[in-house]
Structure formats: C-alpha cells, structure tokens
C-alpha cells in the first residue's frame, strides 16, 4: 500500500541537536513517499553588529564568511538528502529562524515540522531553545521536538521494574534532587507496569507521585 506523500519540514542549523532531529526522522518517522524540506535560516548577525563608523571592508569580509559558511551547510544538507535517498529540497532563507521555519511550513503546506530542542544558542538556562519554542507555539501542524536524555540507556526498555519498597519512599523524599534523579533512573522504584491491565496503577502512582523527583530545571534538558 503506497503511503501518501507527506511534506516533512526539518529545521537544521548544523548543530548536533538538529543532527539528532534528522536522525530521529530517519529512524522513526520516515515513510517511502516523504518529501523532505530541510530549512536552514540565518540571521545576518554581522550586519547587526555594525557600529557607527565601522570598517566597511571588515564588515564585507564577515558577510562573505557567513555566506560561505551557509553555502557549506547547504551543501552538506543536500548531501544528506542524496546519501539517504530522500526526496526533497534544501531551503536557505534569511530571517528569524523560528519565523522562517513556520512560514515555510505554512507556505508549503507541510504535514509536520521536526526540530531539535536546541541549536547553536548558548543560553542554557532555559528548558528549550528559542527557535523550537517559537515553532511549537506558532506552528499550525504537528511538531516533533527531538529532545533526548543526557545519558540514554538503550537496554532499559526490557528490564523488569521492581516493586516500590515502603521504606525507600521516605528516604527518597529527603535526598537532594540530583541524587534522587540518578537513583530513580538506575533502580526503577515504581510498580511493575508491564502488565496490560492497569487497574492498580492509579493508586500506586498516586502514592508515588508525592515522592518522585521534582524536576530540576538545570538538568531537565
């Protein structure tokens, strides 16, 4: 059964976060007839730093460098498409990245937008980068924000989860957040949940919800 053609917009900026987004698409979302639109946007940052009486030569050099960098990126994106046998195109548009991505998705009638949770931005105090934040809030189509844990364990999916022990509940609730978090990861203290019938889980979760870790903002990326 042939799948209908879906237009998938993937926002890439060359950072490894956006790499993850692309890889996620390849291994989890891709279907045969997808048309992939890789969107890269750049803000002419060097123009923004123009001071009064700036050296015109230096400025034009900076602009040239940026243009070259963009070209190289676009080339690598095109390579990505051909290497992976994808049908699609690369768009390199200037402007605010979030707005550009949403605009392209809207104009091209995309079916989905895929983006990383962060990009090149250096501000780490927020949960999510400004671009993905913008996209999530302004998109008219489903958005996939590819976040990933710092330490991703592949083998955990099939582990049996031990029942929560009563005495542990009290010790866990007083331990500092960071320590709790790693303990929870290593040693899942939640009810055994691989059964299909979950009539008891509500009560168990209610008990455990008061003792499970509170989110630590700095770590939750």
């Amino acid at each position: 059964m042939a799948t209908k053609e879906r237009k998938v917009v993937i926002a890439l900026d060359g950072s490894h976060h956006s790499e993850h987004a692309f890889e996620w698409y390849m291994s989890n979302f891709r279907q045969e007839n997808d048309f992939v639109v890789i969107v890269h946007s750049f803000e002419a940052k060097s123009a923004a730093h123009v001071g009064v009486g700036a050296d015109v030569k230096a400025l034009s050099l900076m602009l040239e460098e940026e243009a070259k960098h963009c070209e190289a990126l676009v080339k690598s994106f095109n390579k990505k498409l051909t290497e992976n046998g994808l049908k699609g195109e690369v768009k390199n548009i200037s402007g605010k990245p979030g707005e550009v991505v949403v605009c392209v998705a809207h104009d091209d009638q995309a079916d989905v937008i895929i983006c990383g949770s962060r990009g090149h931005g250096t501000l780490r105090r927020t949960f999510m980068g400004s671009v993905s934040d913008y996209i999530v809030h302004h998109s008219h189509v489903p958005v996939v924000v590819c976040r990933h844990k710092q330490h991703h364990h592949h083998g955990n999916a099939h582990r049996k989860i031990p029942k929560q022990r009563k005495e542990d509940k009290h010790t866990k609730s007083t331990a500092p957040n960071g320590q709790e978090r790693s303990n929870i990861k290593d040693d899942m203290k939640t009810p055994h949940v691989s059964q299909r019938d979950q009539r008891t889980t509500g009560a168990d979760l209610r008990r455990s919800s008061s003792t499970l870790v509170k989110e630590d903002p700095d770590e939750s990326q």
């Binding site: 989890n28 045969e32 008219h140 189509v141 929870i184 209610r206 919800s209």
Partner: protein, 165 residues
C-alpha cells in the same frame, strides 16, 4: 488494523515506548489518531495515560455548601473517568496495538513526565490543547509543561481546524 509502518528504516527505529496523553478532548483524540496514522510501528508499545483534573469539583461554585451535592459530583466525575479509561482500552483493542492504559493522579503535566521517565518512554505524544477553555494562549498549560520538561522527543499535535482557531 491501521498500519503506518514503512519498510525503510523500520529496523533501527523500532521498539519504542510511546506515552500518549489522553484527556477525552477532541484534541487528544486527534493526537492519538495522528500518531496511529503517521508514527506508529507494530513493535511500538503504547501507553495511554489519563490524568483527571476534576474540573467540575474544583470549579464548582457551590464548593462550601451541600455535601450530598459534592459527593454526587464526585461520583459523576468518577464514572466519566472510568468511561474514558474503558474507551481508551477499546481503542487499543480496535487498532490492535501493543499497549495499556494508565490512570495517573496529580497535576497532569507532572504526572505525564513522571510516567514517561519511570517507563523510560522514548516518545511522548500530546495534543496542543485539551479540555481547557482558555484560548488566549497558543498552547495549553499541560502540553506547555510537558514540552518544556520532557527528556525524550515529544510530538505536539496541533491541527488547524475549527477546533483550534
């Protein structure tokens, strides 16, 4: 049986644990449907989580008055919730997917994140809005919370139709 799995790339990306947030709203139903149509693969395990907010109890104007009325409201809420969870189970059977339902407690956003972490989910699917009535924001409070606190890829299913605008 709905099938969206493709031949290419299926091997490396399989075996996902997907947490789908369901609150009984049209948005969450759309999110579930979108997931089935676009993302679901047969080796994915799906967890449908419902975290009731007890709106009729917390928003009721007669909170301090008649205890009988309160218990009647509570009973009604409870039966609605049970109906919803039963419907979720039906959906699982209808689409023949490997999964189960969970009824969580507490604040919906936090409950979803805790569940996803406890289950080592590799994906969360959530509608951009739910049962909430405030339309002045772009996104509902629960999906906003989940998007910002998740540690795995999250899919926010927003659709432009009369429901959203």
């Amino acid at each position: 049986m709905a099938s969206a799995g493709s031949g290419g790339g299926g091997g490396e990306g399989g075996g996902h644990k997907v947490v789908i947030a369901m609150d009984g709203s049209q948005h969450s139903n759309n999110a579930f449907q979108w997931y089935i149509d676009n993302v679901h693969r047969s080796d994915n395990k799906v967890i449908l989580v419902h975290c009731p907010e007890y709106r009729s109890l917390t928003n009721a104007p007669y909170l301090t008055c008649d205890p009988d009325k309160m218990s009647e409201l509570a009973r009604k809420e409870e039966s609605n919730i049970k109906l919803l969870v039963a419907r979720l189970r039906e959906d699982i059977d209808k689409y023949g997917i490997n999964g189960f339902t969970v009824r969580a407690a507490g604040k919906p956003g936090e409950a979803i994140i805790k569940l996803a972490q406890a289950e080592n989910a590799t994906m969360i699917v959530i509608g951009s809005r739910g049962l909430g009535t405030l339309r002045r924001t772009f996104m509902g409070s629960v999906s906003d919370y989940v998007t910002h606190h998740t540690t795995c890829p999250v899919i926010i299913v927003r659709q432009t139709d009369a429901v959203n605008e």
